[in-house]
């Protein structure tokens, strides 16, 4: 069974249809890239799958391990193993990164019937993972994302992903705002997590990220539809030729 199945997904915002029938099947161990120009529904796709309010799903299905996601609240989807690395991680003043991480980890553990994480175990775990991402450990004492640089915010997202070990991870423009060194570190973090029990949906505008997180499948999203699918070479082609050809096709 596929890990994540998106079938004929239609969604609208304020009466305007943005997603016009998206179908994607992600198996365990796979990385799928969704590419496309701005304003074609890439972020809408990630928000709808994650269960954000304000979107009206008019048709279609989203299944995680065969479980119907669309009837579940955003937090229940997260606890079922869905993770979204945000394009613009929000600031939460006064809430330390460590308090936030701990609350999130415990929410997941509770859902799995496990006891809350022990304070020492937590600190050890975070210390180890921040090292992988080349982050200063001190960062977890700072308020979540408050005053973080663009790169720090994105590393923070990947840190959360590593700690929460999701089944399905959606990376929404994780490469935006990253310099090349940060891009490498973040990609290594993601690659370290690749495995048969996990799948990734990488949403990006540029091919650059895919040099580091090498996808198994690449899909082109324009005008709310997947207009082409292929292997990693498709990304290279897009890089060289742009989206013009697909925009015409969609029109």
């Amino acid at each position: 069974m596929a890990l994540l199945e998106i079938k004929n997904l239609h969604a609208s915002v304020a009466g305007r249809e943005i997603l016009k029938g998206i179908t994607l099947t992600l198996d365990g161990g796979e990385v799928h890239a969704v590419m496309g120009p701005n304003g074609t529904g890439k972020s809408t796709l990630s928000n709808v799958v994650a269960g954000r309010e304000g979107y009206n799903v008019t048709a279609g299905e989203v299944l995680l391990d065969g479980q119907d996601m669309l009837i579940m609240s955003a937090d229940a989807r997260a606890r079922a193993g869905l993770f979204l690395a945000f394009q613009y991680p929000v600031e939460i003043p006064g809430v330390s990164t460590s308090a936030f991480l701990k609350t999130a980890i415990n929410a997941k553990r509770r859902a799995q019937g496990q006891p809350e994480i022990d304070a020492m175990e937590f600190l050890k775990l975070v210390k180890e993972k921040t090292k992988i991402l080349d982050m200063p450990y001190d960062m977890i004492r700072r308020a979540l994302n408050v005053g973080f640089s663009g790169g720090e915010k994105k590393r923070g997202e990947v840190l959360q992903m590593i700690l929460l070990e999701p089944r399905v991870a959606i990376l929404d423009e994780t490469d935006s705002g990253l310099d090349i060194d940060a891009l490498k570190v973040v990609s290594e973090g993601v690659n370290g997590l690749r495995g048969p029990d996990r799948t990734f949906l990488v949403i990006t505008h540029y091919q650059r990220l895919l040099d580091y997180i090498v996808p198994d499948h690449v899909h082109v999203l324009t005008g709310g539809r997947i207009v082409a699918s292929g292997g990693k070479e498709l990304a290279k082609e897009l890089e060289a030729e742009g989206y013009a050809k697909y925009l015409d096709a969609a029109a």
């Binding site: 309010e53 937090d75 939460i92 609350t103 999130a104 959360q160």
Partner: protein, 484 residues
């Protein structure tokens, strides 16, 4: 007429009482309503010296002259209170002891559990007969003994009036005079009990003094009076209230708290108030009209108020500092949470009189449901307060779209060398913040609690450790059901 007769009889009893007739008076309840007779009755019941009775009467007469003119400037609405329609004294009730926690309202127990209150304390709070495994009374007694050895006086104010009349006489009403305001005047006339604290010169009180120790002593009632004196160079931290929800049959509460800090003394006064706020439709609930004021009378003295106000239907409260001594410091940290139909009008006054006086105000108001939350504050700098400084920060957080937040800051500066700063923000819990937390698997309520606790952090971290942990949970519980 019967009531009048009864009063007359009671007063006759009282006359006897005054002259050493110390055993019981049969009536345990003062007649309904307020009159000089009622005041005398209360005073007699407490075996008070004449100066005390006179002070109460002065207050009562002043209050009568005020007519029914309650202050109306606060942004709160409530039906008119009929002051003649209540009892102002009744003997402490002995609560029926329950056999075990199984007999206690399960809803109450659930809240205790959420607050993480240890079982033994749950039993005490719920009025279950506590068995001898851990005797809270004996613990309290041990503490009391230790404090006595250090020269600390910590006792009910009625006891202090008997045992240390010279101290009470000197300081009672010296910060909040009986003529101060409608509710303080009423309190001065009819207060039934409260706490008295005296910290001797140079002593750093080694433990937090808490009304909690007196939890299973008598109910201090609706007109509580507290007087705390920190003598030169001393320090005390005083905790008032309890995170556990408290119900009371009296709707009106009008307490007075006076603090006096002499040279180099410091008083830290922390409150967690969680009285019954009324039901989700705004029915019932306590009216809390409190006057709290501290005088930094000595040089370099310091008074710090921290309050976490989550309960009551109406909160009307402005813990203030009069900074008389040169170099004295006043601080006010406040979290006020209103949900459903609660109304809070709260803030502080910092009155700078001495030179080089400093004050700091950090106020966090959180409003949800149909509630109204007002910060009202005054920073006054007198002409002699050279180089005085104030920093004020008022932040309001709104949850939902049917609540209100208001900020009414007054700044009066009569000294050109003084500096005042005021910052204010109003924000909402954003949809982005909520979704972000939900996407990490937190429930709606966990998310709100986390965000709100972050918003209040600066204030909560000024609370003593064990109080702070409970206060964080209380913040979460107070906002249950406010989103979604």
């Amino acid at each position: 007429m019967a009531a009048t007769k009864e009063t007359a009889a009671a007063v006759r009893d009282v006359e006897q009482y005054k002259y050493g007739f110390v055993t019981d008076i049969e009536s345990d309840k003062a007649p309904k309503g307020l009159s000089e007779d009622t005041i005398r009755f209360i005073s007699a019941k407490k075996n008070e010296p004449e100066w005390m009775t006179e002070w109460r009467l002065k207050a009562y007469r002043y209050w009568t002259d005020l007519g029914d003119e309650e202050p109306t400037w606060a942004k709160v609405r409530y039906p008119k209170i009929d002051y003649q329609d209540s009892y102002y004294y009744s003997a402490p009730k002995i609560q029926p002891k329950l056999e075990s926690l199984d007999d206690v309202d399960p809803k109450l127990l659930e809240t205790y559990k959420k607050l993480g209150i240890p079982l033994i304390e749950q039993e005490m709070l719920a009025g279950v007969a506590v068995d001898a495994v851990f005797d809270s009374v004996s613990v309290a007694t041990t503490y009391k003994k230790k404090l006595e050895e250090l020269g600390v006086i910590f006792c009910p104010i009625s006891e202090a009036i008997q045992k240390r009349p010279e101290l009470v006489k000197k300081y009672l009403g010296s910060v909040v005079p009986y003529s101060d305001n409608f509710f303080a005047t009423l309190n001065s006339a009819v207060f039934t009990d409260g706490s008295f604290v005296y910290i001797p010169k140079g002593l750093r009180c080694p433990m937090e003094l808490s009304t909690y120790f007196r939890i299973n002593e008598q109910n201090t009632g609706q007109f509580e009076r507290t007087l705390i004196i920190a003598d030169e160079g001393s320090y005390v931290s005083y905790l008032e209230g309890c995170t556990a929800p408290q119900r009371d049959e009296n709707q009106l509460h009008a307490a007075v708290v006076e603090l006096i800090a002499l040279d180099d003394a410091e008083i830290k006064y922390s409150t967690v108030q969680n009285w019954y706020p009324g039901d989700a439709d705004g029915k019932g609930g306590i009216y809390n009209f409190v006057t709290k004021r501290g005088a930094c009378r000595g040089r370099n003295s310091k008074i710090m108020w921290t309050q976490v106000e989550t309960g009551s239907a109406i909160t009307w409260k402005y813990p203030s500092c009069i900074l008389q001594g040169d170099g004295s410091v006043g601080e006010f940290y406040s979290v006020a949470i209103t949900n459903n139909y609660q109304q809070a009008d709260t803030g502080t006054k910092m009155i700078h009189i001495g030179r080089n006086t400093r004050s700091k105000i950090i106020s966090k108001g959180i409003s949800a449901g149909h509630a109204d939350n007002t910060y009202r504050g005054l920073v006054r700098i007198a002409s002699k307060a050279d180089a005085a400084r104030n920093y004020t920060q008022c932040d309001s957080l709104l949850i939902g779209s049917t609540c209100g937040a208001h900020t009414v800051p007054y700044i009066e500066n009569r000294n050109p060398s003084a500096q005042t700063e005021h910052e204010a923000t109003t924000s909402k819990i954003s949809e982005e913040q909520l979704f972000y937390c939900l996407q990490r698997g937190m429930t709606q309520e966990e998310a709100v609690s986390l965000i709100v606790n972050g918003f209040c952090k600066e204030v909560l971290q000024t609370l003593p450790m064990e109080f702070a942990v409970e206060a964080q949970k209380l913040v979460a519980i107070s906002l249950e059901g406010s989103v979604g």
